[in-house]
Symmetry: C2
Subunit: 326 residues, 2 copies
């Protein structure tokens, strides 16, 4: 079995050398040249086995994909173009000596190459039991153009990309013992739900369009859940929001179930984008971008940190009830 | 007890807002503005409880210091000026509900403030058992001036800062049950050794001077051990090296012990800088910089990946025998 330095050498040779990299993998640190008149955007996401995922639920390849996807989703939430990534990987000794690391990097690098993101560094450590992943992604926006959580204004319209609630139902199905079959060509509804949880797609096309055309006043990705993530925007922008239950784009695979609305509001891990648009720009928001819709779900109000939801003609207060670690 | 979002708010208010930060803690990602004509240098270091440290050996404050110090040492090894840091922290639930996190950040931010490094982001997760830390540090060098491992040339002189072997002896003492007393004002020799392991000082002053005056042809920090880290330079530079045992600056607190040379060669975690200087520049290397010496220990040769050590007039081959995770 190869030692850590041999393995680093293999990965090093598979990492793309482009994108202003002066020194990639293989030194004490990576050296990059970012463009003048651009800002650097950087995020880090920790995934811990048995907390954020179970080894039995997710294939190493999907885990590699997801580890990068959640960080790319954070960059998308800023409107940033992803360019570079580092990954810290902690593995128990028996996992190190399996083919896990090759399959993990296969999923990771496949998503990286799809978006022309270069792997420039990272760290490898042994752990006593759990697989630990920290994915660090860097991107760029034109100077001063990052889309923050803090820019929402009263009367802005609230939009969400894609559909919501599917990832949370996928998690329930995994907990019940359902698994992805790799054999079938056409996915069944429940497999689509599993993949919503296991293999999220960061909404990079939407992010880059919104940043380029300066259409979003604020943006966040839905990782904790719509109710919680909308509250993050309201807190940072000192505003409130009113949304309409009937407008929320619930995942079609869960639409008929009783808890569909609750999953869409509080489920989390959908990795869709939630963004606000001033009324003068709403007609510039396309219905679809590369097959992914954006849906108007409500408006920003001046009631600081108060979110209301209208359902069946009744308005009630919506508490943030998404995922919390502590 | 405070939830994670409350705690993030506390840390956010203690992070320094300077150094070209457009968005620090509190959004999906951090946004920074790096200077034109400078390169960005970035590194990440994973510390895993029971592998890299024991909770019983190191105080939360020292752990916070060390988590940042190891990353700053990587930046120093590139000649980079440290400017920004992100930290991912995984904590078991009982540790989250203790005062660990406050003491950890106290040590972390104390070192950060000493070097005017701004905390701009990170992640927090629950873990089943272990404390997990990933420290991500960013710095700058003037364009094209990062000091790589790959620049050593035959006949270059090899230097090392500070002294070696102390951290490895400190680790032995910790394993034997020795602990740091916080009461005494003057440290005893064994406590100095413990602190060499627990509270390393990154050699930032040396790094910045060497980069500014363009004196080092290659550089690495000694984290795995002199024999291993010198081999990293030799591998990346396609050169060899001959060092003299009598010139190696062994930690004065271990000098008289039998295994002193072996600790200095293979012990690791000293976080001193190992660098090479072309013969025309060796007179420009000061004996001391802010109290920290640099010592000439040997020369680079043209024998690719062959390191020899001269001891008592005899020359033998030196194998890299430092720390490996796998």
């Amino acid at each position: 079995m190869s030692g850590e330095f041999n393995f680093i050498e293999i990965i090093r040779n598979r990492a793309r050398h482009n994108r202003g990299i002066l020194q990639g993998i293989g030194d004490d640190a990576a050296v990059i040249s970012s463009r003048p008149k651009y800002n650097l955007v950087i995020t880090t996401d920790l995934l811990i086995e048995d907390i954020d995922f179970k080894r039995d639920w997710i294939s190493p390849k999907h885990l590699g994909h997801k580890a990068l996807a959640v960080s790319l989703s954070d960059l998308a939430a800023m409107g940033a173009k992803p360019k570079w990534v580092l990954i810290s990987l902690g593995l128990p000794e028996n996992i190190w000596h399996s083919n896990f690391k090759h399959r993990f990097y296969s999923g990771f690098l496949s998503l990286a190459n799809q978006h022309r993101v270069a792997l420039i560094g990272g760290d490898i450590s042994r752990t006593p039991n759990q697989i630990i992943i920290d994915s660090i992604a860097l991107g760029e926006t034109p100077h001063g153009r990052a889309i923050l959580r803090s820019g929402a204004q009263p009367n802005d319209h609230i939009f969400v990309t894609g559909t919501l609630g599917g990832a949370a139902r996928g998690l329930h199905l995994l907990q019940k013992g359902e698994r992805v079959s790799t054999k079938r060509k056409r996915l069944k509804a429940h497999e689509e739900l599993l993949l919503r949880h296991l293999k999220p797609d960061p909404r990079i096309d939407w992010a880059l369009m919104l940043c380029k055309k300066q259409l979003a006043t604020s943006m966040i990705d839905i990782s904790d859940g719509l109710s919680s993530d909308l509250m993050h925007i309201c807190s940072e922008s000192y505003v409130g929001a009113t949304i309409e239950a009937s407008k929320i784009p619930i995942d079609p695979n869960i639409k008929t179930s009783e808890d569909a609305l609750s999953l869409a509001l509080n489920g989390g891990e959908d990795y869709e984008l939630l963004f606000t648009v001033s009324s003068k720009n709403i007609r510039k928001i396309p219905k679809l971008l590369n097959g992914i819709p954006a849906t108007y779900i409500g408006n920003i109000t001046n009631k600081t940190k108060v979110i209301s939801i209208i359902k069946d003609g009744r308005k009630r207060r919506l508490a943030p009830s998404g995922f919390k670690h502590f």
